[in-house]
Amino acid sequence: VRERIVPVLVLSALLVGGLGALLPASPDPEDEALAAEDRFYLAKTHGPHRCDVIVLGDSRALRGIAPSEMEEVLPGRRIFNFAYNAGSLNPEMYREAEKRLDPRSDEPAAVLLAVTPLSLLGWKATNEQYAELRAVPPDEVWLKIHRPGLVRYFQPLTPSAFIAAALGPANAPRTLQTFHDDGWIESERTPPNPEEALAVYAKRLRGRSVDAGLVDALVERTVRWSERGIRVFAFRPPTTDAVVALEDRMTGFDEEALARRVEEAGGRWLRFGNDGYGTYDGSHLDRESARRFSRDLAPGSGTPAESGCRRRSASLSFRRSTPPVRGSGSPGPSRFPKEHPPCCDRPVSSSRPLSRRRLRPSPPATWRWRTSSGSTTWTTA
């Protein structure tokens, strides 16, 4: 027995250390995107963000509002997109959003509420994705954000990925995502499928209606924020006319009534049509439309600041430590049939399986750095 414990530990160390270097890269093309996505959501949730303007909402806001574009129209404002997949507009998210508004800022604080019927459905009020992300232990958050190379080295193999590779390549459409440090996910689909969302929503909204309690909570919070000098701007983010009609019919959402209540509560309801904006799946804005919409949204939601911005640096700052990474992913049925964008009204788990990919210390030769809108992004050459 005496001879076994030490050999087991030594052999294990050799195996673990050696396998990390020797194991082949995963054949799963989603890995890079998933790892980047993991880092993005963890940093978004756990990062010490301080801003003047914060955006709340679901995936339509997450993918449709680009703070960097708004900041160009509103120079000096620090804007942060705090929307999540399947995000609910509820008291917990209001509290969390408020914590991120900088009380010491000279700029007027504002909350942008991207209201969709889906964000007011009672069954989603648990904020599954946000709750999961909040529950990630601090050591794991630190490792994933600050030591992604180490995490990648010990990234596990996923049996499904290898079996899938052996069975042949998937022909599913791909979703391109670029993760921005201001909380925005720039999204595109190849090929775009404008019919997709309608069918999915029709199925998922069956028997579900807008929760009156959540509507009351929104109005009540608008009153409280307005009284404290925090400006509230609410709006329905653009999508397609067909989705709007479907959502209104199935959930009983009354936009006009809510707009009236928000205005009475001291907030301001901004109106945008769907014309002029394109979606990649029939629901979420494609990246160009998201940029355009963000520029359209900016003037309504605040006046340009008189003085320059005052940014604070912190150890978890997006702006320094996590350059956004573009990845491509297949939403096909082989891996995440019910969880993946485009129709992000269900949460995307932060802990979903990633298959192992060898550490890539520097960008591959076919990639180059590009700087756009004040933030660095990956893009293919």
């Binding site: 027995v1 076994r4 010990f154 193999l157 269900r346 399986p353």
Partner: protein, 477 residues
């Protein structure tokens, strides 16, 4: 602190490095165990420590009170039970009770939202509350029954109550087993450490590779807004969950036992290959043994057990199983799970079908299959998000519609194959035990090298074949 985490790796390394020094003197040993265990538990949320402290102080004082004033033993016991059950009721069941009472009042035409009236802090479920309150209660009950001499040393008591390997998910170690062990200076031999290491490695393998590997698919199936209508798919998913919960929980118990062994303490076996059982009664003698025996000794037998005739025995069985269901969680699904098992056990007692079946050729195999089918039905209730979902899934399962093609359509061929492979990996060991094959037939000269290489391969598998989950299922109880 989760076992499969970097934080625990560092914690365990430091703890075992200092343990040989700390264990020598009695009070230093207790203080070291209490301090480390509180750090381990407070890592989740330091505020949880107040609850375990309150629960522990109450039972420690109650123990001393029973010894000091034997005439007031009953009052002390009542106080202890009320305190423990009260804290469980407040933190675990208040939301459930408020919700259902509100529903009842609504039926009577009164629109009262009792849930909203609850203070926010009681809506937080402290990790492992059900385990340590039961452990704490066993102390006072045993002192009351005169089976245990209460300790006068609060550090000794808290070292027992909060011992970190078993604090949050068992096994529920009785005070009569652990307090004397803690008092003695612990000694470990090389054989103990080797056995402990093997236990720990097996536990991590079961948890990280098998249970976590399957967790994703199970969560995806039960979380779907539109559940699948394929019967085969649900049989596969329910089997996956049965393997997941077994590997998850028995994996935790193995790690706990291994860690205790490294300290020089011995915990009783908590799982003994339950899926090889050929009767439901046997299943319960092999599944979560520390909880089953707790309910037997502190609930079923005090109610009268089977001494007062078949009807009273059946009633006692139902009460025990329903309380066991509620112990697992404050939801109707858990109550139904307990009810399911009570029903199946009652039918088994009434018909004695396992004994009859085992008498015919192939009967043992058929009996095991029947037991598994009943346990699987129970697991559907246990895992479902609601009773309605459970009923829908069971209807689908027993409609026997949809073949392998429907499974491929539902989850993709590669995922289906991955699930099957993980299930087979877990089932192979159980099948070996079921067949009674004993130790693998290895030549003696190969035994040592194989027993050295196998744990190393399992450790590497824990790193490179680990699944995406992390928290243990039983933490929520």
């Amino acid at each position: 602190m989760l076992f499969p985490s970097v934080a625990f790796l560092v914690f365990a390394a430091v703890f075992y490095l200092l343990w040989p020094v700390a264990r020598r003197r009695e009070n230093v040993r207790y203080a070291y165990l209490v301090g480390a265990s509180f750090l381990f538990y407070g890592w989740w949320d330091w505020r949880f420590l107040f609850l375990i402290l309150a629960s522990g102080i109450l039972d420690f004082v109650a123990g001393l009170g029973m010894r000091g004033r034997p005439g007031a033993r009953k009052a002390w016991l009542a106080l202890s039970v009320a305190g423990n059950v009260g804290s469980l009721a407040a933190f675990k069941y208040s939301g459930f009770l408020a919700e259902n009472l509100s529903g009842l009042l609504a039926l009577a035409g009164m629109d009262v939202d009792l849930t909203a009236a609850l203070p926010r802090f009681v809506l937080i479920l402290p990790v492992g509350i059900s385990f340590y309150t039961f452990q704490s209660m066993s102390y006072t009950i045993d002192v009351y029954r005169g089976r245990l001499e209460p300790t006068r040393n609060p550090l000794h008591f808290f070292a027992y109550l909060a011992l970190f390997p078993q604090l949050v998910a068992g096994p529920i170690v009785r005070a009569s087993e652990l307090l004397p062990q803690l008092r003695r200076p612990p000694r470990t031999t090389e054989a103990d450490r080797w056995a402990g290491l093997r236990r720990i490695v097996h536990g991590f393998f079961k948890k990280m590779v098998l249970a976590d590997g399957l967790a994703w698919f199970v969560a995806d199936a039960f979380g779907a807004v539109e559940p699948s209508v394929s019967s085969l798919y649900w049989w596969l998913i329910t089997t996956a969950f049965a393997v997941q919960i077994y590997c998850d929980f028995s994996g935790y118990s193995d790690i706990a036992r291994g860690l205790a062994r490294w300290m020089g303490y011995d915990f009783l076996e908590n799982f003994n290959h339950p899926y090889v059982s050929s009767s439901l009664r046997e299943f319960w003698a092999r599944w979560h043994i520390s909880l089953s025996t707790w309910f037997r000794d502190y609930l079923y037998l005090p109610l009268g057990g089977s001494r007062r005739g078949p009807l009273r025995s059946a009633v006692n069985l139902w009460i025990t199983m329903l309380v066991s269901g509620l112990w697992h969680g404050a939801a109707w699904t858990f109550l139904l799970w307990g009810g399911c098992h009570a029903l199946f056990l009652s039918m088994e007692r009434l018909t004695r079908w396992p004994e009859r079946l085992r008498g015919v050729t192939g009967g043992r195999l058929a009996a095991t299959a029947l037991v598994l089918a009943q346990v699987w039905v129970g697991w559907v209730f246990f895992r479902a998000e609601s009773a309605a979902q459970a009923v829908r899934i069971l209807r689908t399962m027993f409609s026997f519609s949809g073949g392998p093609a429907s499974v491929r359509a539902e989850m993709g061929g590669s995922d289906a194959l991955a699930v099957v492979l993980l299930i087979l990996a877990a089932a192979s060991r159980e099948a070996w035990i079921w067949l009674g094959l004993g130790r693998p037939p290895l030549p003696e000269r190969l035994r040592a090298p194989v027993e050295t290489v196998a744990p190393s391969l399992m450790i590497a598998a824990c790193v490179y074949l680990r699944g995406p989950g992390s928290a243990f299922i039983y933490f929520q109880f």
